[in-house]
Amino acid sequence: MSFVTFYFMNFINFPLLTCYFYRETCRGIVNSMIHRDEVKKLAELALLAVDDSELDTLTKEMDSILEYISEINSFTADIKNERKKPLLYNVMREDEVTNKESEYTERIMKEMPSTDGQYLKVKKIL
C-alpha cells in the first residue's frame, strides 16, 4: 500500500493528518520513513552484521512497518508528552544465597564457546 492511499483511507478518522501528509507527499518531502543509511546505522548500533545486499529489502520492509505504526501519533496526538509513572512496583526479598557453591558452574561453563580452565576466554578488551 502506498503512503498516499494509506493516509487517504484514514481520511475519515484523521482528516488533518491526512491533509498534512498528502501535502508533504506532494511536495516530495515525506517519501519514506527510513532510509538505507539509517538502517545501516541501526544495525551498527544493535551490533548486528547485515549484508549490503540485504539492506534494500530491510529498508523497504521497515518503511512499511514504520508507516503502519506511525498511526499511534494520530491516536495520542493530544496527550502531553509526560513521562508515565511506571506500572509496576518493586518486589523485595532477602539478599541470601539460594544455591550451593559451584552448583551451576559446570553446567554454565559447558555452554561457553571458549574456555581456559575455570575461565571464560574472550578476545582482548583493551
Binding site: 527510513i34 539509517e38 538502517v39 541501526l42 544495525a43 548500533l45 544493535a46 551490533l47 548486528l48 552484521a49 547485515v50 530491510l58 520492509e61 521497515m62 512499511s64 512497518i65 514504520l66 503502519y68 505504526i69 506511525s70 498511526e71 499511534i72 501519533n73 491516536f75 495520542t76 496527550i79 508528552n81 513521562r83 508515565k84 509496576l88 518486589v91 526479598r93 551451576y104 553446567r107 554454565i108 559447558k110 555452554e111 561457553m112 564457546p113 571458549s114 571464560l120 574472550v122 578476545k123 582482548k124 578488551i125
Partner: protein
C-alpha cells in the same frame, strides 16, 4: 481396545487411577503418532528418547497410590521452556546446541505432578511470528491441510495436540502465539492473565507481554493444565500474589461485541460463524450486547512498537560469548556483530532493528512513549467496558489458515494476523480461543477460532463460556471426523 489418544485428561486420569491403562500405554500411543507424523508435519524439533522411561516412573507413582491431574499424562513443550539437561533452542540457530541449566517454574510444577514430557515443539524463532515459518529448522505444517500454516508462534504445540501427537501442550503467548495457532489448528488455547503463570525459565521475548499458556483438545483439558502451572513465584517478581481474588463463576454472563472493530478485513464466511457462536451463547441464556471500543484498533500499532522495543533489549543477551552460537570476527566487537548477524534469523533481526529505532533518542517520544500512553488509554477504555460486560468477544483471526509462503515475503501482512489477539497482551487480561465453526477452502474444511477476553484473573469466565460453545465434546479437527 479404545483409542487412548481420543481421551480427555479427566478420562485418562480415571483410567490410569483405576489401572485400566498404564501411562506407558497412553504415552506409547501418542509417541507412536508423534514419530509417524513428524516427518510430514515437523511439529517436534526433538522427540525425547526417554519418554517411555518417564512414563514408567509415572506408573510407579500411580501404583503407590499417588494421583495428580497430570501424573502420567504426555505433554509437548514449546522450545522456549527450559528443562534442565535438555536442549532448548527457541527454534534459533543461535541456540542450536544449547542445553538448559535449570528448570523453568512451569516445568518444575509439571515434574512434581509427574507429567511425561514428549518433546520440544517447533515455533517461530524466539516466538516472533504468526505462521511458524520463521523457525530456523523449517516450517511446521497444518495437519488439516499440510499446504497451510499452523499459525504461530506456538505452531508446533498446536499441531502436536491437533494431530494427536500429544495429549496437551504448553505454549507462550506474547501477541496471540497460543490463541492464533489454536484457532488455525482447531484446538483450544488459553492466554492467562499476565503474571498468573511464572515466566522464570521461559525465554523472554517481550517481557511485559509474555505469558505461558496451554493448548488442548478441550476447554476442560486446557483448564487442568492452567491450574497446574499457575501461581505466584518468588523467581518472577511480576507474578500475581496467590491471595489476590479471582473472578468467580456465574450462571449467566454478559458478552460484549465491539462491532466497530469488526467492520473490515474479516473473511465473510468467518463472520457468519462468529454470529452463529453469539447466537449459541444467547440460546444458552447469556446476554450479548454491542459495545464501543474505538481505541481497540490502535492495539496493533501499539503492540508493534512495544514488542520490538522489548525484543531489542531482550535479544541483547545473545553475544556469542557466554553461550550459544559463536562466529569469529576481526575483533571483539566484530565477534558480537558476526555471531548475532549469522545466528539470528530474518524476523528477529528485523525486530531488533525496529526496536532500536523506536527506542533511539530521536524517535523515542514519537514511538515508544506514545505507545506506552496508548497502552494506558486502551486499558482504561477496555476496563470501562468491563464494568458492563463479563467478557468481550471477537473472532480469533480474520480468516482461516493461509498457505505456506503466501505471506512470508510481507512482514506487515503477517503482523496484521495479530489484529484481534494483541489487545489482551497489551492490557494483560486473559483470553481464550475455542474452535467454533468451519469454512471450506479448496475442498478442505478449515477450523475457525472464537475469542473471548475477560478482566484480570477472569479465566474461570473464559473456561465456563468456552465450555458452552464447544459442549464438552472434543474438537472436530482432533476427531478428524469432518473432512468435507
Amino acid at each position: 481396545m479404545i483409542d487412548v489418544t481420543t481421551l480427555t485428561i479427566k478420562e485418562a486420569r480415571k483410567k490410569l487411577d483405576n489401572k485400566e491403562i498404564t501411562s506407558v500405554e497412553l504415552t506409547g500411543a501418542f509417541l507412536k503418532n508423534a514419530k509417524e507424523k513428524n516427518d510430514k508435519l515437523n511439529a517436534f524439533l526433538e522427540i525425547f528418547d526417554d519418554v517411555l522411561e518417564q512414563a514408567k516412573e509415572a506408573d510407579k507413582r500411580i501404583a503407590k497410590g499417588e494421583s495428580y491431574p497430570l501424573l502420567g499424562i504426555p505433554i509437548a513443550l514449546k522450545d522456549n521452556l527450559l528443562v534442565q539437561g535438555r536442549k532448548v533452542s527457541s527454534a534459533s540457530k543461535i541456540l542450536e546446541n544449547y542445553t538448559a541449566t535449570y528448570d523453568a517454574t512451569v516445568i518444575k510444577k509439571l515434574k512434581e505432578e509427574g507429567a511425561v514430557f514428549l518433546g520440544r515443539t517447533n515455533m517461530d524463532e524466539f516466538a516472533m511470528g504468526t505462521s511458524t515459518e520463521n523457525s530456523a529448522f523449517g516450517s511446521t505444517r497444518n495437519p488439516i491441510d499440510p499446504t497451510r500454516v499452523p499459525g504461530g508462534s506456538s505452531g508446533g504445540s498446536a499441531v502436536a495436540v491437533a494431530a494427536k501427537m500429544a495429549m496437551c501442550a504448553l505454549g507462550s503467548d506474547t501477541g496471540g502465539s497460543v490463541r492464533q495457532p489454536a484457532a488455525l489448528c482447531g484446538v483450544v488455547g488459553i492466554k492467562p492473565t499476565y503474571g498468573s503463570v511464572s515466566r522464570y525459565g521461559l525465554m523472554a521475548m517481550g517481557s511485559s507481554l509474555d505469558v505461558v499458556g496451554s493448548l488442548a483438545k478441550t476447554v476442560d483439558d486446557a483448564e487442568i493444565l492452567f491450574e497446574t502451572i499457575r501461581g505466584w513465584d518468588k523467581m518472577d517478581s511480576t507474578t500475581i500474589p496467590n491471595e489476590r481474588e479471582r473472578i468467580e463463576k456465574k450462571d449467566t454472563y454478559v458478552i460484549g461485541v465491539p462491532r466497530d472493530f469488526l467492520t473490515t478485513g474479516i473473511d465473510p464466511d468467518a463472520l457468519v460463524e462468529f454470529e452463529n457462536a453469539l447466537t449459541k451463547l444467547k440460546n444458552e441464556g447469556h446476554t450479548v450486547i454491542d459495545i464501543e471500543l474505538p481505541t481497540l484498533k490502535y492495539s496493533l500499532a501499539t503492540y508493534y512498537i512495544i514488542c520490538p522495543a522489548e525484543v531489542s533489549t531482550n535479544m541483547a543477551r545473545f553475544d556469542g560469548v557466554r553461550y550459544g552460537f559463536h562466529k569469529d570476527g576481526v575483533d571483539r566487537i566484530d565477534d558480537y556483530r558476526q555471531s548475532r548477524g549469522a545466528g539470528f534469523g530474518k524476523e528477529v533481526r528485523r525486530r531488533i532493528l525496529l526496536g532500536t529505532y523506536v527506542l533511539s533518542s530521536g524517535y523515542y517520544d514519537a514511538f515508544y512513549n506514545k505507545a506506552m500512553q496508548a497502552r494506558d488509554l486502551i486499558r482504561k477504555d477496555v476496563f470501562e467496558v468491563f464494568k458492563k460486560v463479563d467478557a468481550i468477544a471477537t473472532p480469533t483471526t480474520t480468516s482461516p489458515a493461509f498457505k505456506i509462503g503466501e505471506k512470508s515475503d510481507d512482514p506487515l501482512a503477517l503482523y496484521l494476523e495479530d489484529i484481534f489477539t494483541v489487545s489482551a497482551n497489551i492490557i494483560g487480561t486473559p483470553a481464550i480461543s475455542v474452535p467454533f465453526g468451519t469454512v471450506v477452502r479448496d475442498g478442505v474444511t478449515l477450523p475457525l477460532g472464537f475469542q473471548l477476553m475477560a478482566p484480570d484473573l477472569g479465566e474461570t469466565t473464559l473456561f465456563a463460556l468456552g465450555k458452552v460453545l464447544t459442549g464438552h465434546a472434543q474438537t472436530d479437527a482432533v476427531r478428524g471426523a469432518r473432512t468435507k
